[in-house]
Each structure stands twice: as structure tokens, then as C-alpha cells.
């Protein structure tokens, strides 16, 4: 299973990468939405997108919109967001996101959510 992680905070990116690798997933990491789009266009077989909502160049919302509307992909999308951004989260759900987790987050919880989504998409 291949997961694309898009997060501008390097420390969080490293933590996410490490955790998901420990869980047995293959990971690709990028720092912004632009790189994520490039990666989605070049890399085949990405099973899940884990993205932060606030990023430079192209935001998480734009990235989700691109995946759903331009690429017409149905891959599960999990958002990482901050507390108090309920409107943004609702907008992301409208655009086609599948789940979200708020920072500060528990890596264990994130791992379970990803597992559940991947199982659901496989079925």
C-alpha cells in the first residue's frame, strides 16, 4: 500500500512517515500541494493521500479539488487540520475528503483511521 504524505512542517512529516512505515506502508513525502500534484501525476498506484490543509503554493483544499475534479480519482483522502477550522473541514468534505484528524494528533489514532479507510476502499 502506497501513501502520499503532504505536510509542510518537516518534523510532523518525519513523524508521519516513520509511523506509517512502521505500520508497513510504503510512503512518499512532499512539502507542498504543488509537489503533491506532480507526484500524483508521475507516480502510479498511490492508494491514499494524507494532506495538511494549510500549505504553501497550493493549499490542501485545492489539492483535494484537483484529485477529485481534475484527476477524477477516488483514492481516500485524509486531512490534517487544526482545531477551530470547522468551516474549512466542512468545505474539504464537500470537495470530497474522506476523513480528517486535528492537530495535535495521536499517531495511533491516525494509523487506525488510515487502516479503516484503506480497507473500505479495497472492498
Amino acid at each position: 500500500m502506497k501513501i502520499l504524505i503532504c505536510e509542510d512542517d518537516l518534523m510532523t512529516l518525519k513523524a508521519l512517515e516513520h509511523k506509517l512505515k512502521n505500520d508497513g506502508y510504503e510512503t512518499i513525502t512532499v512539502h507542498d500541494g504543488k509537489q503533491a500534484i506532480e507526484m500524483l501525476n508521475t507516480q502510479k498506484g498511490i492508494d491514499l493521500l494524507l494532506t495538511d490543509l494549510h500549505m504553501p503554493l497550493i493549499s490542501g483544499l485545492e489539492l483535494i479539488s484537483h484529485v477529485r475534479n481534475e484527476m477524477k480519482s477516488h483514492m481516500p483522502i485524509v486531512m490534517l487540520t487544526r482545531v477551530g477550522l470547522e468551516d474549512t473541514v466542512l468545505h474539504a468534505f464537500e470537495l470530497g475528503a474522506d476523513d480528517y484528524i486535528t492537530k495535535p494528533f495521536s499517531p495511533e489514532e491516525l494509523s487506525l483511521r488510515i487502516k479503516r479507510l484503506l480497507l473500505k476502499s479495497r472492498n
Binding site: K14, A15, H18, N22, G84, P104, S106, P107, E108
Partner: protein, 470 residues
């Protein structure tokens, strides 16, 4: 100015050129050997040949001629005068001395008469100052260059260490090994102060976005490496930015040992220290996150209130009963409590809110009226009605607006009186809107007022009843 400067330079270049050409154009006088002149003069005075005055005389005369040639007229004059003492009858010397006087008095020479042999105090001082400033400038440039290089190298070193520590920490946090055992690599880092600072920064960065077991593991590592000592030391530091960093570290790692010192900082004159101390205490309050409000004697600014509120929301902290602070001596704390009561919809605070309606402070009364209105506490309606008569204009407006938010037929008569008796249009509009909010009964009442032909408030009622505006 630039053009003027150029012309000035040009002027000086021309003057120098003239001066140089003048010197060059006097070969007859300046380059003619003394002997030939002597001979010329001697020929004219054959009757009295000039005696030989010895080597000393010749030497002085040579010096005088050299000085004259290069334009050092003062020195030349001095030597000629010395020579004249030995040979007072020399026509040549007299001629030279006369020529020196002529040149000195000449306007062009006036500009070019530099006495470099004996510079006066001003020239000396300026020269030394110029040398001093150039030397200082070079020294400062050197210091800046060295300092910048040092900073660059330190930053590069920090970057390398940051990446290294990030990997070490992430490896440790997500490894399945014994969590209580601190890896030797990390232990080694903690032995150096420089490395420890970077390690703490990385741990705090990581703790911001993590929660649950992983965060606990990180916190345990912080304690195992005894890094809390560094953070506590920072809180006692005199520099404000170090102090604030200490607050952050303690708050994120949930260390309460320095709470007393943080509480003392709540009264700091420095706004940033005060605000950061408040935020730290919200996190470190442990069941009494807002206990710091009891100690706050300085004004609790709107920005600070907003930041504290954001912290509560971000960290999902327990919400206390804010009516506890309604009797605080600090007016800004009371205002904060009122705002929080409204935001967290603590309607049970009404018995205490009621007393705030008769508070001496006008602003507190105003905020209380608004809070009651937003919480829609109908029990307060009779009290609001009673207060109206003696309140300020702003508070009267707030009362009518609050009443509008909790429509009640019992208050219809009062609102009709406001429209009828008040002369202020804003109050009349607000009262009419409050009546309109009552539904059918209100609209009927307004229609009735509209039909009465002896008052001029019809236009207000028409405005309120206009569905396009609503």
C-alpha cells in the same frame, strides 16, 4: 549638488594645472644654476666680486633653491634668510626673497600656499581624525565579517544537528523497544549545552503536533534527560525572550515546578512576558486553568483575552464557571468573565449577572446587558425595564437591543412608550424592531401606531415594517 561637486572638482583641477604650468613655465628663474646667476650678477658687479662663503653657505643656498622649486616658499624664505646672514649683500638672495613675497601675495598662490612642514592644529587634528575613522571603519568591517562567518557556521552546524536529532527522536518515539530506556546517542547529546538547546527545540516542535501515547513517551524522555532543569532555569533568566521560551517549554511538557515564578511574571511590566505567563498558566493550571485571573492586577487586554480563549479551544481545556470572577477587583477580568459566560452559554450565572446590572462601572453594566440579551435570559426583562430610566444613552440602546433578542408581549407597552416618548431616532428604530420581533402581535401594534396621525414616527415604523429591509 552632484553637478556643483563636479564643477568644484573641475575648478580645483584647473587651479592645480595653472599652478603646475606656472612652476613649469619658470625655468629661467627656478632651474637656472646659482652659479650662472652669480656669474650674471658678478658680471654686473665686477668691481666687487662676491667672496666665497664656504660649504655651509652653498648647502643652505641649495636647500633654499630646492624648496623654492617645489613651491615650499616659507621654507625657502627661511633658508634664504639664513644664507643672507652669511652673505647679506647677495643680490641673488634678495631677488629670491622678493620673488617669494610676490608669489605669496599673488592671488593664485594664496590658494596654493600649503605649509606642510608646520601644519597647524586644525590640519593635524583633521588628519588624525581621518586616520582614526578609516582605521575604525576597517576594524568594524573586519569584526562584522568575522561575526557573520561565525553565525553562518553556527547556523549550518545547527541545521545539521537539527536534522540528526529529528531522525533520532522520531526513531525513538516510533520504535517498539523499551520506552523507558534512553538511547545512548540521545544521552550523549544531552551532555553538551549547545546540543541540548537544539534537542529541546526539536522536542518542543514535535510535541506541538502530537498527542496520546507518543506525546507521553516524548515527555518521559524529556524528564529522563533532565531537560526540565534547563527550562526552569530559563524561567528565572533576566532576558525576556529566554523567559518566554522557558514558559513555552514548561507548558508544552506540562511541568508545574516553576508555577510560582510564572505567577510572579503575571504582574510583569513587559506585555509579552505577562501574556505568555497567562498562557502558560492556562496550560499548567491543572484543574484550575484560570486560577491566574485571581492574581492578575494588571489590565487583561482584549488581545490577551482573545489569545487565552484561543488556547482554551486549541487544547480543549476544561471550562470553569466564569461567574467566579464577576466580583474581581480587576475590571478587565470581570469583562473577560462576562464575555466567557456569553460564549460558553453559562445561563446558570444569572444570579451573579443580576448584580452586575447595578455595578458602578458603566462599561461593565453595558456588557452585562448585552450578555443577558445574547443569553436570552427572560427573567431579567423586568430588571432591564426598571434600569432603563436611569441609564446612559448607550446602555439604554443596549437594553432595547437586548429586549429585542427575547421578544415578550409583557414588554410591548414599555417599547411603545420608548417609541412614543424618546426623541432619539436610533432608540425609536431599535424599539420598533423589538416590537416587530414579537410576531403578529408586534406587527399589529406597529400598524396601530402607524395609523395614529398626530406623531411623526410613522416613517420609522414604515422603515421597520418594510420587508425588503428586514
Amino acid at each position: 549638488m552632484m553637478v556643483l561637486g563636479r564643477y568644484k572638482c573641475l575648478f580645483w583641477v584647473i587651479i592645480f594645472a595653472i599652478r603646475f604650468s606656472e612652476i613649469q613655465a619658470q625655468p629661467n628663474l627656478d632651474t637656472v644654476r646659482i652659479d650662472s646667476l652669480h656669474q650674471t650678477f658678478d658680471k654686473e658687479n665686477t668691481a666687487q666680486p662676491e667672496p666665497m662663503f664656504g660649504a655651509e653657505y652653498e648647502r643652505i643656498l641649495d636647500k633654499a633653491d630646492r624648496a623654492f622649486k617645489i613651491g615650499l616658499y616659507k621654507q625657502a624664505g627661511k633658508y634664504y634668510k639664513e644664507a643672507a646672514k652669511i652673505n647679506p649683500n647677495s643680490i641673488y638672495i634678495q631677488y629670491r626673497l622678493k620673488e617669494i613675497e610676490n608669489r605669496k601675495s599673488n592671488l593664485r598662490n594664496f590658494f596654493f600656499y600649503f605649509d606642510f612642514e608646520k601644519p597647524d592644529i586644525l590640519i593635524k587634528s583633521i588628519t588624525y581624525l581621518v586616520i582614526y575613522f578609516i582605521a575604525s571603519m576597517l576594524l568594524i568591517l573586519l569584526v562584522i565579517l568575522i561575526h557573520r562567518n561565525q553565525m553562518d557556521s553556527v547556523e549550518k552546524r545547527k541545521q545539521v544537528l537539527r536534522e540528526k536529532y529529528q531522525s533520532l527522536l522520531v526513531d525513538f518515539l516510533f520504535s517498539t523497544d523499551n520506552a523507558s530506556k534512553v538511547p545512548s546517542d540521545i544521552k550523549k547529546i544531552a551532555s553538551s549545552l549547545f546540543n541540548r538547546r537544539i534537542l529541546i527545540d526539536q522536542m518542543i516542535d514535535l510535541s506541538i503536533n502530537l498527542s496520546g501515547e507518543t506525546k507521553d513517551k516524548l515527555r518521559n524522555l524529556f524528564f529522563a534527560l533532565k531537560l526540565e532543569r534547563d527550562s526552569i532555569r530559563k524561567v528565572y533568566n533576566r532576558k525576556w525572550h529566554v523567559k518566554v521560551k522557558g514558559f513555552h517549554e514548561l507548558a508544552f511538557m506540562d511541568i508545574v515546578e516553576a508555577n510560582d515564578q510564572i505567577i510572579r511574571c503575571l504582574q510583569s511590566k513587559n506585555d509579552i512576558i505577562r501574556m505568555e505567563a497567562q498562557l502558560a498558566m492556562v496550560r499548567l493550571g491543572h484543574g484550575d486553568s484560570f486560577g491566574f485571573l485571581d492574581h492578575l492586577s494588571k489590565p487583561f487586554t482584549l488581545w490577551e483575552q482573545l489569545t487565552v480563549y484561543e488556547t482554551i479551544m486549541f487544547h480543549n481545556l476544561p471550562i470553569p464557571h466564569f461567574d467566579r470572577w464577576l466580583y474581581s477587583k480587576n475590571k478587565t477580568v470581570v469583562q473577560f468573565a462576562l464575555r466567557m459566560i456569553e460564549i460558553f452559554k453559562q445561563r446558570e450565572a444569572y444570579p451573579n449577572l443580576f448584580w452586575m446590572l447595578v455595578n458602578d462601572d458603566n462599561e461593565i453594566r453595558n456588557l452585562t446587558i448585552r450578555t443577558i440579551g445574547n443569553l436570552k435570559i427572560k427573567d431579567a426583562l423586568p430588571h432591564l425595564k426598571r434600569l432603563y430610566k436611569n441609564e446612559t444613552y448607550q446602555n439604554c440602546l443596549a437594553i432595547v437591543q437586548a429586549i429585542a433578542k427575547m421578544p415578550d408581549e409583557k414588554i410591548l407597552h414599555f417599547l411603545t412608550l420608548v417609541i412614543d416618548k424618546e426623541e432619539d431616532v436610533q432608540l425609536q428604530i431599535e424599539a420598533a424592531m423589538a416590537i416587530n420581533n414579537m410576531g403578529e402581535i408586534g406587527r399589529t401594534a406597529l400598524q396601530k401606531l402607524l395609523n395614529s396621525d398626530y406623531k411623526n414616527y410613522q416613517i420609522i415604523i414604515k422603515h421597520v415594517l418594510d420587508k425588503r429591509i428586514a
